[in-house]
Symmetry: C2
Subunit: 431 residues, 2 copies
């Protein structure tokens, strides 16, 4: 099938997907778990071929690691699906209900978005996870995986599609695009695909954001900050700086820059240096930082860099406001932290830091869908509309206005003898 | 000031705007009402100049009518602002709160989006309305009006900006772009403008949607349908068809196509013809329609046309599913109606019509923010993310995740001795 046909089938399937019962969707998810087990050897063979080809093409070790889909990854994926089964059906929830007039009722009801386009690099486990999330939320899904994982992806997509159809999902609810040029083709499908979720490197996500009119849910980078206020508890500030930087460096919610209020710079900077260097972190500092501790210079470019490594930049700021200006200028609106013992300063910071996740006296690394208790994570968004920060299933949902009347005409509600609207809230689920 | 400076100032102001108290915002709104009255003669003079120039340039009568900003329009705009003052502050509402562990609390709090770009044709009253909506929701606003209204817009923008600043809004909270080329410049400001709201003709909105990466909230067209089911009450069907088509034809929520189930076509079509022709509606029909009533032919192009006029196309469909296919293929996802006495068929229709507003046994013309009781209308959206259908102030809002801890580190929640998360919902407002 060519890409337009696959996409059209997916679009058509999205209508049926949106009206599936919770029972069918959960049965489909359970089927996927079984099918992944039953077909373990087929998956292993396909993955072996992908891995062999990747080794021949000298792909680097981290990529090979991501490419591997073994029993451990299958079990982890299945655990995720199990937890999805336990979540309430996000479709059909009444968000609001109001009576406009006698017998004229308006309901705002949660609904799936439609067709979710997912573009991911190398990791076949991402395919399993995102397919399950889309299914649970009643969306159809159009997948484009990395060519390195093509055989694994084909087998997985086929198994997952069939397991869904077997439970009552419409044919075509999951479509797989297979050639490299399909990425750019998918980015053009703005009549078919309602939302794109990219999974991969920053450069990859940025490319996608820059080449499509379809809304993209995600983040290109995570330049996160920790601001140490003049009223910070010094020990807490050190602990949180170390945890936010080093607990896991290769992730978007690790900090890249530490901002230190000038009043505490003399006290904090030597302590920060000792603590961070104990963790093998290289420090770059602004001029004022360099005047206090012996570190290399940080410049304009550093404030804009997501190191994703054991490197941190430090800047001394004159005030809370200057700290906020730095964050709002250089940050990516992902996660920013203030350390202070003064609540009013923390609230001031929260009101003015233009960022998805704003934290007071805790590590930036808490910024995560599972830690937030969202149950399942679609991704982290630095968008300013729709969904922001860690996104759970609700990022795959929109709503529909449903009105039920008994022949109500607008002409009776306008002009001189216009009937009034009551707009009385009603405490009733749509049914 | 050049456009980039104006935009930067607006971006900076957006941070302060987001943290204004409800009192300041309401005072600013009250100031705007007074200032519009105090400066009535300046506004009238500017508007007179615009109107004179427009007449010299032979602009057509409807445009001149829209361009006019007289006492009546001022009072109407001020009524709108009065009702905004009475609405609750949409900023800072706690949408969700959960305790992750002892002393580690997470709040999801409503926040303004940031900088709203508004591009509108001719109508100066739209400037007043949208500026007030942005102010109430704590957003900064960058306005681009039509060149026909340039003098009126300048005076209004200056008055409104000053009235806001006088109450405590930051300088630059409202920026006006003035030259024609500024439209295209604004569409490029994806680093500054977070959301664009266009107000104008379909072609105008479509142009904007097609020429920017910034999210656009709106609808290019409204091809709405009324489907008359085989189980429809015939009299109700006629009444609703007439009201949905003729109550006001030049609007997006008027229907353009009537779909009639074949089982009732023989009965319904002659009655529809009589009723619609009494209202001067011209009818175009598919082949099956033409076999029953004497009307001109409707073709592929008609199903895709928003007439916005006393014209309607009629198609006979074989089934409820065929009606739905037609709607999902040709509709613009705005408003679609089913007339039936059978609730299960109505629910089936609602679950499968991929449209923002889906109505059962009532007129499509109810699709409107004021009728819905939203208090203030930002516009009608046919997007599939963020906001759908009539959009109230909540379309100008997003949320922020706020976490408060006491030195909580992630390293204590991972590994062998990991502390567990409790994820206990807490019934507390963020403060």
């Amino acid at each position: 099938m060519d890409i337009q046909q696959t996409a059209n089938q997916c679009k058509t399937a999205s209508i049926s997907m949106s009206s599936l019962s919770a029972e069918i969707k959960n049965k489909a998810l359970a089927n996927i778990i079984s099918a992944l087990k039953t077909n373990e050897s087929a998956i292993r063979d396909a993955n072996k071929n992908d891995l062999e080809r990747a080794r021949k093409e000298n792909l680097d070790t981290p990529l090979l690691k991501r490419l591997k889909f073994d029993s451990a990854k299958r079990l982890e994926a299945c655990d995720g699906i199990e937890s999805l089964i336990r979540l309430a059906d996000p479709v059909g929830t009444t968000l609001n209900a109001v009576e406009l007039d006698n017998g004229l009722e308006l309901y705002k009801v949660s609904r799936p978005i439609g067709v979710i386009g997912v573009i991911f690099e190398s990791r076949p486990d991402a395919l399993v996870q995102i397919a399950a999330l889309c299914l649970k939320s009643g969306n159809a899904v159009l997948l484009k995986g990395g060519s390195e994982a093509s055989e694994t992806n084909q087998v997985l997509a086929q198994i997952i599609h069939a397991a869904g159809v077997d439970a009552g999902c419409p044919a075509g609810w999951l479509g797989l695009l297979e050639t490299r040029s399909d990425v750019d083709r998918m980015l053009q499908l703005d009549q078919t695909v309602d939302l794109i979720i990219p999974r991969g490197s920053n450069a990859f996500v940025k490319y996608i954001m820059d080449h499509t009119r379809i809304p993209v849910l995600g983040h290109a980078d995570g330049i996160c900050h920790l601001y140490i206020d003049r009223l910070a508890d010094p020990d807490m500030a050190i602990e949180l700086a170390v945890d936010s930087k080093t607990q896991y460096v290769a992730v978007c919610n690790a900090i890249e820059t530490i901002l230190v209020h000038r009043d505490v710079a003399n006290e904090m900077l030597p302590k920060l240096k000792t603590a961070l260097e104990q963790k093998q972190v290289s420090i770059l500092g602004c001029g004022k930082t360099q005047a206090i501790i012996d570190v290399d210079a940080a410049g304009e470019k550093d404030w804009q860099t997501e190191y994703l490594d054991l490197i941190v930049s430090i800047r001394v700021v004159d005030s809370l406001d200057q700290g906020l200006s730095h964050i709002n200028q250089y940050g990516s609106g992902h996660t920013d932290v203030i350390v202070t013992t003064d609540k009013s300063r923390a609230l001031y910071f929260m009101d003015r830091a233009d960022t998805a996740d704003v934290f007071w006296n805790c590590s930036s690394r808490f910024s995560d869908g599972f830690r937030f208790g969202l149950g399942a994570e679609v991704g982290v968004s630095t968008n300013k509309i729709h969904a922001r920060g860690p996104v759970g299933l609700e990022g795959l949902m929109i709503y529909q206005w449903r009105m039920m009347g008994n022949g109500h005409r607008v002409k009776d509600y306008v002009g001189e003898d216009a009937k009034p609207f009551s707009h009385t809230p009603i405490d009733k689920e749509f049914s």
